[in-house]
């Protein structure tokens, strides 16, 4: 099967997924702040209002809690809503709805009311948006039972995670890293739904496993290049789904390489990297040749200046440095 490849971007791939979902299923609609006339704050839904009309591309007032709650209600009422929260930073205003309703209704009702809702939002730092607009909270959301958390890091996943998420009977949150929208590349012309159960190895290697997801996949692959130049063969695992985690793939890799670095744009303490590290320790302690390293964001509300933001975030060189530390652990 040699599919034709087309040039596209992450943004266009997301839009193609939205367009397909809207075309194929009458129950699907998109709702959120500025998804319509404005075209989406990051232009993801540009043109969809013209194509599908204001009933299905639904601009909302600035009322995160109400329109997320309305998305939950509409899902209960038989629709397949896609709710866009402009960015993860504002999702805190809707967190009660997400945790106490979306994630809990199925259980509280003894299985009677499931919530087939998809929530999309932009996440991450790197664009000098300062303290209130730079959170990476997807790992935090992964703490909540009842949710599925996705982090598309590639064009395939930007194109393919939404259709699979829409088939899920339960709430799915999709986190799109803000730095990826302009990412260019090629995609099969007939690209469609992808699996959302498994992590994947994006680059095979033997000496150390670099585990990451979303916005830091690119930096981690760059780090692998840096390491290759040093003769270190790094395997890069893209988690893809942050809840439920696919332990098998990343633990399996660490069992082979005996060394691991977790790269995570969340603030270090209590980030997803801690959970990954704990699981490796639980499942593969005796395979480890060195402590699992973590490369995370400095524990500081994000500063505006570029040089400070760069210093706060995981970078190819800090990732590579952590991998080198793992290669030469100082025994104590």
């Amino acid at each position: 099967m040699t599919a034709t490849l087309v040039e596209t971007t992450y943004r266009e791939a997301l839009r193609a997924a939205l367009r397909e979902a809207l075309s194929e299923d009458e129950r699907v609609f998109l709702m959120g702040e500025d998804v319509g006339s404005y075209g989406g704050c990051f232009a993801v839904s540009l043109g969809l209002l013209e194509e599908f009309g204001p009933e299905r591309i639904r601009d909302t007032p600035l009322s995160e809690s109400a329109f997320v709650g309305a998305g939950i209600g509409a899902a209960l009422g038989g629709m397949r809503p896609i709710v866009e929260i402009m960015t993860v930073n504002f999702s805190l205003l809707a967190l009660d709805q997400i945790m106490n309703n979306a994630a809990s209704l199925l259980h509280m009702s003894g299985g009677q009311f499931n919530v087939p809702l998809v929530i999309r939002m932009t996440t991450g730092a790197g664009r000098q948006l300062a303290a209130q607009h730079s959170h990476s909270l997807e790992g935090w959301y992964a703490h909540i039972p009842g949710l599925r958390i996705l982090a598309p890091a590639t064009l395939e996943d930007a194109r393919g995670m939404l259709p699979t998420a829409l088939r899920d009977p339960d709430p799915v949150l999709i986190f799109e890293h803000g730095s990826l929208y302009n990412m260019k590349g090629t995609l099969a012309a007939d690209a469609g739904a992808v699996d959302i159960d498994r992590a994947v190895v994006r680059r095979p290697g033997d000496d150390v496993t670099l585990i990451t997801y979303g916005g830091t996949l690119g930096k981690t692959l760059e780090a692998a290049d840096l390491l290759a130049a040093d003769g270190i063969s790094a395997e890069v695992v893209d988690l893809r789904t942050l809840r439920p985690l696919d332990d098998e793939t990343f633990v399996g890799s660490v069992r082979r390489t005996h060394r691991a670095v977790v790269v995570d744009e969340g603030w270090r303490s209590g980030s997803l990297s801690a959970e990954i590290s704990a699981r490796i320790m639980e499942q593969a302690l005796y395979d480890l040749e060195a402590p699992v390293e973590r490369v995370c964001t400095a524990e500081v509300p994000m500063p505006y200046p570029k040089h400070l933001e760069d210093a706060a975030l995981p970078q190819p060189d800090t990732i590579a440095a952590a991998a080198r530390r793992a290669m030469r652990p100082v025994a104590v």
């Binding site: 609609f29 009933e55 909302t60 007032p61 009322s63 809690s65 109400a66 329109f67 997320v68 709650g69 309305a70 998305g71 939950i72 209600g73 509409a74 899902a75 209960l76 009422g77 038989g78 629709m79 809503p81 009660d96 709805q97 106490n100 309703n101 209704l105 199925l106 259980h107 509280m108 009702s109 003894g110 299985g111 009677q112 009311f113 499931n114 039972p145 009842g146 599925r148 899920d168 009977p169 339960d170 809840r243 439920p244 985690l245 696919d246 332990d247």
Partner: protein
């Protein structure tokens, strides 16, 4: 006011449709009352646990509103929802079993008093976060509108809930989008221990609601006829496409906020005053005066509901508990067995 009503009413036979309907209302209210008295006893006996919020005194509200609904309409409720559930027709057995946390309960025992659900009756649940059900209700109404369904969604919440941001966001959204939703604000003058004047700068909540541009009016929530007719009027208008409506149902809870509450913040005299307007007594008086109810009827109905509740308690006591092995059911729909992959 019921006396006045009774006076102007003709004296119909006990067999008229009106009389039958009123007996149905009375039965519902008595059933709610009896159910909750049993709950209070069972709570004291530690058979029921968690938070339990009684509706005693407010029965006319649920009973009147539900009487105005069709079987396809939807209801979103609160943690004070035994009355809503019973008036909506959820079986007493399934409610009592839920209070006991048994698998035969209406939420499979998972919810308890604050989380009663019944999908077959579009009873979309008790919600224990104040005001959090309001956005759900407008979402259900949005789904109906998008699917061109003729359903009305009724959303209950207290006057305390009206101070929450979600109240504001949802009323604006519902009005903006002309959604088929009936907001039923149960104004019982207190939010736990906080009197309405300490909660709201503007205590006329119907007036406040009107400022969003929706139709809103206050209703005597101790008069089941007033409630039913207001609800009918609103539901009809909503079904006709007039957009959301808001009823402020003025009522009072005769008992404490929850079984935990020593009720220190209300004067006895205030409670006694309201008890004089007991909605069940008022209905009984009206029906008696109209010749629609005699002692025997009343006794028989009381006995019937008492019997139902007693049987429900026995059944709930006897029902098996869920095996511990199924603890992680209902976390996700399709991966129930895979408890480990979280």
């Amino acid at each position: 006011m019921n006396a006045r009503r009774a006076a102007v009413a003709a004296e119909p036979e006990q067999s008229t449709p009106e009389a039958a309907h009123r007996r149905e209302l009375l039965r519902t209210m008595l059933l709610i009352r009896r159910f909750e008295e049993a709950c209070a006893e069972l709570y004291s006996a530690a058979r029921i646990r968690g938070f339990v919020h009684l509706y005693v005194g407010e029965e006319a509200v649920a009973t009147g509103v539900m009487a105005a609904l069709g079987p396809d309409d939807a209801v979103v409720s609160t943690y004070r929802e035994h009355g809503h559930a019973l008036a909506r027709g959820l079986p007493v057995d399934s409610l009592m079993a839920e209070m006991f946390g048994k698998q035969s309960g209406c939420s499979g025992g998972r919810g308890g008093s604050m989380h009663l659900f019944d999908s077959s009756r579009h009873f979309v649940g008790g919600n224990a976060v104040v005001a959090a059900g309001i956005p759900l209700a407008i979402g259900l109404a949005l789904a109906d509108k998008l699917q061109h369904r003729d359903r009305v969604t009724v959303c209950f919440f207290g006057e305390g809930a009206a101070a929450e941001g979600e109240f504001h966001e949802a009323l604006n959204l519902a009005t903006l989008w002309r959604l088929p939703v009936l907001f039923c604000c149960e104004n019982n003058l207190y939010a736990m221990g906080t009197a309405i004047a300490k909660e709201h700068a503007q205590t006329d909540l119907a007036l406040r609601a009107e400022s969003y541009g929706l139709a809103a009016w206050p209703v005597d929530g101790m008069d089941v006829f007033a409630v039913e007719s207001a609800a009918r009027r609103a539901v009809e208008a909503i079904r006709g496409g007039a957009g959301p409506h808001f009823l402020e149902l003025r009522t009072f809870r005769f008992r404490a906020h929850s079984m935990y509450d020593p009720d220190r913040y209300r004067e006895k005299v205030e409670i006694e005053h309201w008890k004089e307007h007991d909605p069940i007594d008022a209905l009984v008086a009206t029906m008696r005066a109209a010749g629609q109810l005699d002692d025997a009827d009343l006794e028989a109905t009381r006995d019937e509901v008492a019997g139902l509740v007693a049987a429900a308690v026995d059944a709930a006591e006897a029902a098996p508990i869920e095996p511990v092995e199924s603890l992680t059911r209902f976390v996700t729909s399709d991966r129930e067995a895979e408890g480990s992959r979280t």
